[in-house]
Structure formats: structure tokens, C-alpha cells
């Protein structure tokens, strides 16, 4: 590198990559008061939804609400730019209900860019990170492919699928992080620093022009009315104020200047209502003809002829995989998802593929309603580099290089929500470390984000990791309606959230306590009101108006969920209590496992590789037995 230019401003935190992980990381670090920069290849693709135009879903929706409760931006931005909102599992119990939204893809991106631009302490730079600069064992800067050097105290890498990305359409392949975008070579730098780097694969289906789809042959899937919003601040304050607060830590007063409404804020929401002009999704099905076409062309699928080495996710198989593995099924569901109000593009969910263009063309046109469909973008598979996440501490800082953090697909995860959650925590932890403050680690019993990160750093990944509610052993406590009660107090403490959110949450907590006292001291139908609510056949909506009017519906609903499932909740709390001492017992990062004589070899290998942060984490490492834990406990005490 001949001439290096060192940027004059030195940063506390630099985030490489401006996808869903990157923006949350940058916003969190900036909100905590760190001088932060976001470095991206292309400022026009901030927060791009590279795959489907949807946010949320089972477990993921809870994550978005957790991000929101921690002051993140994903929830509010979804509410501002969503085109369809639904509550999944509405007929099941409260802990497995989850919000999901279709978004206007471009509105989501441009509004996010605007939020970032307005965030104090946050700079934007376009550039392709090429090398991580390390002195001693700590990160000191980033060098871009154009030779620009940015000095910094810490770095968050959120590279998505860009590191050595390889795109496959049939037997053709080309380098690229996403169709139309170039790759990043940052993984070469990581490998050079000593990181283990591996390959994963994922895929995306084709996009169609909506004008060429015959929707009369499809079933409509409308949004819920009223639309369930993501953010706990939704409906609390006006969009304008909200954007202002999201971008500033200054408390709002009557004299605050009101920012103009952003053109990409599509939805109208204020204290009274959340108004969305909803667009339906559509459902159609593949058929035996579709399957015949796919089967006849398997030899042209890079997956089936060994061209793709990376492991793909089992829960998101390509359509060729579905046809082969579930040969007995004569049809598969296909969702047609609109990409926004101002585009005719439709995302064809369920037919992710890497078959050649002509085969995609043929099988798409065999589907009912898509007989005349025009493909505007073909589906493709992408292989990319990731770093096995057991190389991280639970703060998402790497064990190898101090001040270097990873978030999102680089950790072997998939999903916008999983990425955003990691971004927020990586950004926050990078900032906290710079400020010399204690790390922010969420336990498994308090958040899906805690489950996600503990799984990653303790067990590692064997396929792109996605959250399911079944991964959370304390699922009944991690409801989508109580993320703010669980997490916002922590966010307030850390300084991650704006004063409005703090105030709203504190009021809600007080109101809930008041409501609880009320139902305990009020008689109804010759019993205590809480006992009445506990009965399966009763719910708060059938209470007389004079009682019901005492609290808003949202408080009644929370209360009802707490009371009805009290017994189950208590069981989960007992389980948590049983392990709490283990979870709290910290293991120093420098702990020498060779000191434990008689530790089984497997246990020694695993423990010294993972270097668990607590005794509790150690218990979850595969191949570590209770006797090993007992030995470890004794040695920790001996010191």
C-alpha cells in the first residue's frame, strides 16, 4: 500500500457494514456517547433487506421487540415503513405469539439512512474495509481498499454475506456479496490474524413483476386490523417527535422544534391510533409439473453437483431440496410478498433456488397464477465466509483481538432480527469497554437475545443459526408483550434509551403494579377479581365497562397473561433460581484449565477452547460432565 491517508478524526467505535447488525451497533454505540463511524461499501444500501421484505415472525418478532425495548431502531423503523402487520399464533398462548410485518423495502432503507444521518456522535463513511489494524493484541484501526486508514479504539464487523461472497445461478457463478454488489476481502485479514474462517451458504428466490401475476388464482392473506405494531413507543408519540427522540438524547419539551415528517414515513401513528394502509400477501402452490421440471434439472443445480461447499440452513431449504427430500408432497406453499407501495416487485417466498435462469423461468410459469409471470431478478445461492462464533466472548468481543467485535452473519447466524440483536449488543459492549464500564450480557432467562448469544458462543453453529422459540428453555417468561418490562430498565440504566421511552416504561410498570393491587382487592362475581381472571373461561374483555375502564386494554392484557399462567411462570422461575448461583459464578478469562488435574481430556479441550465466562455457561458446553463442573468449582474457589 503506497500512500496511506489517515483520517484526522479518531473514533471510539467503527462499525464495518451497514446492514441490520451494523446500524444497530452504530446507533447503540453513538447513543452511549461514543464517537462512532459506520463504514459501508455503499451508502445507498443501508439496512437493505437482501432476502424477503419481512421483519419478525416466531421468536424473531420477540427479538425485534427486545431490540426496541433496548432503544434499538428496528421496531420503530418497521412501524414507520410496514405495509402489512400480523400477530402470529394469536390463538395459541401469549408466550408464543409473535408480530410479523411486511415492509416497504426502499422506504425502510431510506428512512433508516436518515435516522443514522441525524444521530449525534455518528459519522457515515463509504469505503470497503480491507484490513483490520492490530497493535499488540488490540485493534487500532481499519484500512480500506483505497488505502484510507481510520484509527479507532474498537471495531464491530458486521459483514453479512459479503466476505468472499460467491453467487450461484445454475452452474454459472460470480463473486459478489449480493447480486449487484461487490465482495469484501476482510476475511483474508481475519484469517491472517489467526481466526478460523468457514463457509456457509444461503439462498434467495426470484422476484416477479406484480403486473404479470394473476392474483385471482391466489388466496389473499390480509394483515390484521387493527395492525399490531412492533415498538412499545408506537402510538405513544407522534412520528415526528419519535424520530427526533430516536436521534437525540435531549428531553422533549413543548418548545422542541418539530422535525418535518420524513417522506419515507409511510404510516401515520399518534396517541390514538396506528394507521397503516395494508397490502395483502398472496398464497399459491407448486404442483407436480413444477416438481417434474425441477427434478429433470437437478444436474444443473450447483448444490446437487457439488459446486457448493458451504452448509445451508435446514429450515430454509431451496425448492430443489424440498422436492428431493419430501418427494411424497405433491405441492408446496408459495407466498407472494409485495416489496412495497411504490414498486411492482414481488418476493416469491418458498422457492429459493440456485437453478439456472431458464429452469427458474419454466418452473415459475408452471405455478398457478404465475403462468405469465415475468422474472425481474433471478433467485440465487450465495456462499460466504463466517467465523465460528465460539471464538467470541458473550460480549461478542473476539478472544483473539481485544476491541474487535463480530455481529450478524459473520457469526454464522441468519435473519435480519438475529443480526440486529447481535449488532445492538456488540455496539453497546464495544462502547462500554471504551468507556471502562461493565459489560452488558443478557442471561438466557431474560431475553431471546441472551439465548441467541449464549448458544452461539457456547455451542457454536453447524448451519446458519436461526432462533426458534423452542431454543428458549424459559420461553414462557420471554413474551413479546413484556420485553419492555424485562429490558427497558436495563437500557435506562445503561443510557441506551431516550427519556420518553424511560418515562413510558416506568409509567407502565407503575400502572401494572396498581392494576395488580386492584384485582387483588376487588370482588367480582363473589370472588377476588384476580381469581376470576385466572379461570380459563374468563377474560378481561367480558368485564363490565366501569371496571374495564380503570386501565387501558394493554395493561389488562398483560395482567391477564401474568395471572392466567402464574403457575407455569412460577415453575420457570424456580428453574432459574436453581441455576442462578452457577450463572453468577464468574470464571476469569485467564483461568488456567491445566491446573485442574484429573479433568477428562475432552472436557479440558472444550473448556480451554470456549473459555466460558461463568460456571453456568460451562455446564452447557457439550462433553462437560457434572463431575467436571464440580472440579472446576473447587479450583475456582481455590483460585
Amino acid at each position: 500500500m503506497s500512500s496511506l491517508f489517515t483520517y484526522p478524526k479518531h473514533y471510539d467505535v467503527i462499525v464495518c457494514g451497514a446492514g441490520h447488525a451494523g446500524v444497530e451497533a452504530a446507533m447503540a454505540a453513538a447513543r452511549l456517547g461514543c464517537q462512532t463511524a459506520i463504514l459501508t461499501q455503499n451508502l445507498d444500501t443501508i439496512s437493505q433487506m437482501s432476502c424477503n421484505p419481512a421483519i419478525g415472525g416466531l421468536a424473531k418478532g420477540n427479538v425485534v421487540r427486545e431490540i426496541d425495548a433496548l432503544g434499538g431502531v428496528m421496531g420503530l423503523n418497521t412501524d414507520a415503513t410496514g405495509v402489512q402487520f400480523r400477530m402470529l399464533n394469536a390463538k395459541k398462548g401469549p408466550s408464543v405469539q409473535s408480530p410479523r410485518a411486511q415492509c416497504d423495502k426502499k422506504a425502510y432503507q431510506f428512512r433508516m439512512k436518515w435516522l443514522i444521518e441525524n444521530q449525534p456522535n455518528l459519522d457515515l463513511h463509504q469505503g470497503n474495509a480491507a484490513e483490520i489494524l492490530v497493535e499488540g493484541d488490540a485493534v487500532v484501526g481499519i484500512r480500506t481498499s483505497l488505502g484510507m486508514v481510520y484509527r479507532t479504539k474498537s471495531v464491530v464487523i458486521s459483514s453479512g454475506t459479503f466476505m468472499r461472497g460467491l453467487l450461484h445461478v445454475g452452474l454459472q457463478n460470480q463473486a459478489g456479496g449480493r447480486m449487484g454488489d461487490s465482495i469484501s476481502t476482510l476475511s483474508d485479514s481475519l484469517r491472517h490474524l489467526g481466526f478460523e474462517v468457514k463457509r456457509f451458504k444461503t439462498g434467495t428466490p426470484c422476484r416477479l413483476n406484480g403486473r404479470s401475476i394473476d392474483f385471482t388464482k391466489c388466496e389473499a392473506q390480509p394483515g390484521d386490523e387493527p395492525a399490531p405494531a412492533f415498538s412499545y413507543l408506537s402510538g405513544v408519540v407522534d412520528t415526528e417527535e419519535l424520530a427526533w427522540q430516536g436521534a437525540s438524547r435531549t428531553p422533549v419539551s413543548a418548545s422542541s422544534p418539530s422535525l418535518p415528517r420524513h417522506p419515507f414515513t409511510l404510516n401515520n401513528w399518534n396517541k390514538e391510533s396506528f394507521h397503516v394502509e395494508q397490502i395483502p400477501c398472496w398464497i399459491t402452490y407448486t404442483n407436480t409439473k413444477t416438481h417434474d421440471v425441477i427434478r429433470a434439472n437437478l444436474d444443473k443445480s450447483p448444490m446437487y453437483c457439488g459446486r457448493i461447499e458451504g452448509v445451508g440452513p435446514r429450515y430454509c431449504p431451496s425448492v430443489e431440496d424440498k422436492v428431493v427430500r419430501f418427494a411424497e408432497k405433491d405441492r408446496h406453499q408459495v407466498f407472494l410478498e409485495p416489496e412495497g407501495h411504490h414498486t411492482n416487485e414481488y418476493y416469491i417466498n418458498g422457492v429459493s433456488t440456485s437453478l439456472p435462469y431458464e429452469v427458474q423461468f419454466e418452473f415459475i410459469r408452471s405455478i398457478s397464477g404465475l403462468e405469465k409471470a415475468e422474472i425481474v431478478r433471478p433467485g440465487y445461492a450465495v456462499e460466504y465466509d463466517y467465523c465460528p462464533p465460539t471464538q467470541l466472548y458473550p460480549t461478542l468481543e473476539t478472544k483473539l483481538v481485544a476491541g474487535l467485535y463480530f455481529a450478524g452473519q459473520i457469526n454464522g447466524t441468519s435473519g435480519y432480527e438475529e443480526a440486529a440483536g447481535q449488532g445492538l449488543l456488540a455496539g453497546a459492549n464495544a462502547a462500554l469497554k471504551v468507556q471502562g464500564r461493565p459489560a452488558f450480557i443478557l442471561p438466557r432467562s431474560e431475553a431471546y437475545l441472551g439465548v441467541l448469544i449464549d448458544d452461539l458462543v457456547t455451542k457454536g453453529v453447524t448451519e446458519p443459526y436461526r432462533l426458534f422459540t423452542s431454543r428458549a428453555e424459559y420461553r414462557l417468561l420471554l413474551r413479546q408483550d413484556n420485553c419492555d418490562l424485562r429490558l427497558t430498565p436495563r437500557a435506562i440504566e445503561l443510557g441506551l434509551t431516550c427519556p420518553t421511552r424511560a418515562q413510558v416504561t416506568q409509567e407502565k410498570i407503575a400502572q401494572l403494579a396498581e392494576a395488580m393491587t386492584f384485582v387483588q382487592n376487588t370482588s367480582y362475581e363473589s370472588m377476588r377479581l384476580n381469581a376470576w381472571i385466572k379461570r380459563t373461561e374468563n377474560d378481561h374483555t367480558s368485564l363490565p365497562q366501569d371496571i374495564r375502564a380503570k386501565f387501558p386494554d394493554s395493561i389488562w392484557q398483560l395482567l391477564e397473561n401474568d395471572i392466567k399462567y402464574e403457575g407455569y411462570v412460577q415453575r420457570q422461575e424456580v428453574m432459574i433460581e436453581k441455576t442462578s448461583r452457577m450463572e453468577e459464578k464468574e470464571i476469569p478469562a485467564s483461568f488456567d484449565y491445566t491446573k485442574i488435574h484429573g479433568l477428562k481430556k475432552e472436557a479440558y479441550m472444550r473448556l480451554s477452547q470456549i473459555r466460558p465466562a461463568t460456571l453456568g455457561q460451562a455446564t452447557r458446553i457439550q462433553g462437560v460432565t457434572p463431575a467436571d463442573i464440580a472440579l472446576l468449582a473447587v479450583m475456582l474457589r481455590k483460585g
Partner: protein, 449 residues
């Protein structure tokens, strides 16, 4: 907070006394549930011995002994500790231990009491090495035992149960996590059928618990009959049999002497042999009679001796407790001198003096114990108390999951009990990871919207 653990602290099968120890935050509460005395354990003066009797959850008295409570940190482990000093009989101790475990206590792991003592600062740092050696030694033993169990019929059955249970959970989880998918996981009747299968098989395993006790500790065998019919001669005949390895030496308890012999590989614990050995004076015989009556109630096998030369009408038969006939073998002693008419044909004819009919006796014992008595079952191997408690928890959780399903509860509450059931099973077969459930989901259902 630690959970509460229990273990029999004295070596099994050797001592006259057995000490059972409970440690942890719930120790006193659990003791109050299991042991009845002048006051519940929670109210007893610490560090003082109190009389108490151990009872099952149904209120059946198992044993009488002494209870000593220690309040943490002034105890061995630094936590609340309860010690129960009971009779050293293996069976009694085992029963009391099972009752304590059933009251919601976990069986202690290798070296766990000492480990807790150390972690709670009750031991010097220099003792750490010793503690670790203890944990290692004990875990090696436990590991070996576990491997033996897993290789055996129980391990196989427990693994089979897991194979049935995981798909049940997988279907419920798929129903929860993939509402948008075009899949139809089993619900209702199909799940109930599989849960029923688990219940039946778990209960069958639990029933072998009693067998296990007999195989490990010997069937309680009581010799009874009128004075001078030849009970002590019978005892001498039996003592001539091969000694069972389950109990290397004859144990002495406070008021009985027990011997363990072996008949066709079945260990028999000869109970109340002290009374038989000292039958000379009437006074002692009376005390012995009373004791015998008590023993008859608990016996697995009753050997009733009568004088063959006297007809039934002139014989004063032993009054058996209700239902005990099935466990009794009638022995017509002195049969070499002629058998009086009226005795049933299946009664065993023998002569302790002449040594005849001994083979018939052995056959009769084997027949009764294996085929019509306590060991009657298809299961050749039995489970230990820790496993028994695990399987009982499996059964309890599956029952609860079934009830939740029948009551129309939301799936995640059904899943909670299924998960806890699998977790209990995991204590026998090793931890059941969520990945195993996900594997079943992804291989059974085409997920991938």
C-alpha cells in the same frame, strides 16, 4: 441458590446404623414431610437428637430412628442439613431414601456434600486436592455404574422412551414455531397415544424398582410356625446354602440378626433369625412372636413350618396378614416320619433332620419368588432408586402434559411438561438437547417458507 440433595452416608450393607443426610435450602422442609416426631423438623432444636419415624407419602411407617437438624452455616456443608439415623437394614434405609427423594430432593452427585462444604468455606483450602480426588474417584465409580446401566435393559428401555417422547415434543414444537408452514403436525389423539405408551412403559420400569431392591438386597424371608416344629433346624438348613454376595457378612441390627443366602441365584434375606436362635425360653419366644407378626407384614417370602405328623386340625397355624398367602410356602417338616392326612398336596415335604426334601424347598422358593411372587415380571433387570425417581418424574410430567392437552391448554404449556419429562429422562440417558428435537422437526416436516 443450590438445590437440595440427599444421600445415604453410611456404607450400604455393613453397618448396624444407617445415616441418611439431606442438605440444601429445602432440607428442613423435606424432613418435615418425611419424618414425623414430636414436632416437624422445621421446628426442632438444632443439633439435638429427636425421635422420629420415617413415613411414605401415604403415611406408611417405614422405620423409627433419630433426627438431627443443623441450621446453616453451622453444619457440615454450610447449608441446612438434616441427618436421619435409622436402622441399618438395607431395605429400610433404601425405602426411607426413596421417600426423601420422592419428597422433591435430588440424589447427591459424587462428592457433592464435600464439594458444598468446601465451596461454602467449611473446609481449609489445603483440603481442595482431597475434595477433588474424592469427586474424581466417586465419579469414576458412578460413571462405571451408569455405563453398566445404559448397556443393560434399563438403559435401552430409557433410550427407547426417549425415542418415543422426542417426536411428541417435536410435533408440539413444530405446531408452535411454524404456524405459517403448510405442515400438519400430529395433535390430539395421536399425541395422547404416544404419551400413553410412554406412561405404560415408564410405569413398568417403576414397578421393577421393587424387584431391584430384592435383587440387590435380598427378598425379606421370614420363618414362622409354632414352637418346636423345627424352625431353627430349617434355619440351619438354609444357612448351609450358598451365601449371597449382596451382603458379604451377616449384619447385626439393633434387634435382629440377618443372614443373606442365595437360592438359584435369588438372594434371600433371612429376617429375625435372632429370635429363632434363642427360642429356648417362653418369655423370649413371646417377644419373638410379636416381632415375627410385624415382620410377616413386610416379608417378601414367608416360610411357614408345621409338624407333618400332626393333622391340620391339631395344628395351630400362624395367622397371616391379609394377602400374605401368596407369599407363603407351607413346609411339612419331619415328613420322613410320615405325613398326617389333610395337608394340601402342594405343601413341601421335607425333613430338616434327615436332610430330605431340600431340593423341593429350593424349587418351591424359586417358583414363588420368580413366577408368582415379587419378581414376577417380564423385566429381567431392575432399576435403582435414583432411576426410579427419574422415571416417576417422567410419568408425572407426561401425565400433566396429557392433562394439559385434554384440557385444551395452549401448546407451549403442554411442551413445558414434555420438556421436563425429557429432562428427567435425561438424568438416566444423558442430556436431551434441543437440537435433537429440531432434527426430528426438520426431518419430518418440510419447513421452509
Amino acid at each position: 441458590m443450590h438445590d437440595t440433595i440427599a444421600a445415604i452416608s453410611t456404607a450400604l450393607g455393613e453397618a448396624a446404623l444407617a445415616v441418611l443426610r439431606i442438605s440444601g435450602p429445602e432440607a428442613l422442609k423435606v424432613a418435615a414431610k418425611v419424618f414425623a416426631g414430636r414436632a416437624p423438623a422445621t421446628e426442632l432444636t438444632p443439633r439435638m437428637a429427636h425421635r422420629a419415624s420415617a413415613k411414605t407419602a401415604d403415611g406408611i411407617t417405614l422405620d423409627d430412628g433419630l433426627l438431627i437438624c443443623f441450621r446453616g452455616p453451622a453444619s457440615y456443608t454450610g447449608e441446612d442439613v438434616v441427618e436421619y439415623h435409622g436402622h441399618g437394614g438395607l431395605l429400610v434405609t433404601q425405602k426411607v431414601y426413596e421417600a426423601v427423594l420422592a419428597a422433591g430432593v435430588r440424589a447427591a452427585g459424587p462428592g457433592e456434600f464435600t464439594q458444598r462444604a468446601f465451596l461454602n468455606g467449611k473446609m481449609d483450602l489445603t483440603q481442595a486436592e482431597a475434595v477433588m480426588d474424592l469427586i474424581q474417584a466417586q465419579s469414576t465409580l458412578a460413571l462405571r455404574a451408569a455405563h453398566e446401566q445404559l448397556g443393560g435393559a434399563i438403559g435401552k428401555e430409557a433410550l427407547a422412551l426417549k425415542e418415543v417422547l422426542i417426536p411428541v415434543l417435536a410435533h408440539v414444537e413444530a405446531y408452535i414455531d411454524f404456524p405459517e408452514e403448510d405442515i400438519s403436525p400430529d395433535t390430539g389423539a395421536a399425541l395422547i397415544a404416544r404419551m400413553d405408551e410412554v406412561l405404560i412403559r415408564a410405569r413398568r420400569l417403576i414397578d421393577t424398582g421393587e424387584q431391584g431392591r430384592i435383587l440387590r438386597h435380598g427378598a425379606r424371608t421370614v420363618i414362622c410356625g409354632e414352637p418346636n416344629v423345627g424352625k431353627s433346624s430349617l434355619l440351619n438348613v438354609l444357612l448351609g446354602f450358598e451365601r449371597a454376595i449382596v451382603s458379604p457378612t451377616a449384619g447385626t441390627t439393633r434387634d435382629t440378626i440377618e443372614e443373606v443366602i442365595q437360592v438359584h441365584g435369588i438372594p434371600l434375606r433371612l429376617v429375625d433369625t435372632a429370635g429363632l436362635r434363642e427360642h429356648s425360653s417362653d418369655g423370649i419366644e413371646k417377644v419373638g412372636m410379636e416381632r415375627t407378626r410385624r415382620e410377616l407384614e413386610r416379608a417378601d417370602l414367608i416360610l411357614e413350618v408345621v409338624d407333618a405328623s400332626l393333622p391340620p386340625a391339631q395344628t395351630h397355624r400362624v395367622e397371616l396378614p391379609e394377602g400374605a398367602e401368596k407369599r407363603r410356602i407351607l413346609l411339612l417338616n419331619k415328613a420322613d416320619l410320615g405325613v398326617a392326612p389333610g395337608w394340601p398336596g402342594e405343601a413341601v415335604r421335607l425333613s430338616c433332620e434327615a436332610g430330605t426334601g431340600v431340593e423341593a424347598l429350593r424349587e418351591a422358593i424359586r417358583e414363588l419368588v420368580l413366577h408368582s411372587g415379587p419378581l414376577m415380571s417380564e423385566h429381567p433387570v431392575a432399576i435403582n432408586s435414583r432411576h426410579q425417581v427419574c422415571f416417576e418424574r417422567v410419568a408425572a410430567h407426561i401425565t400433566a402434559a396429557k392433562a394439559a392437552l385434554n384440557a385444551g391448554q395452549a401448546p407451549e404449556y403442554i411442551a413445558l411438561d414434555l420438556r421436563e419429562g425429557l429432562q428427567a429422562l435425561g438424568e438416566v440417558v444423558g442430556v436431551v438437547d434441543v437440537e435433537e428435537v429440531l432434527d426430528v422437526i426438520f426431518s419430518s416436516f418440510c419447513i421452509g417458507k
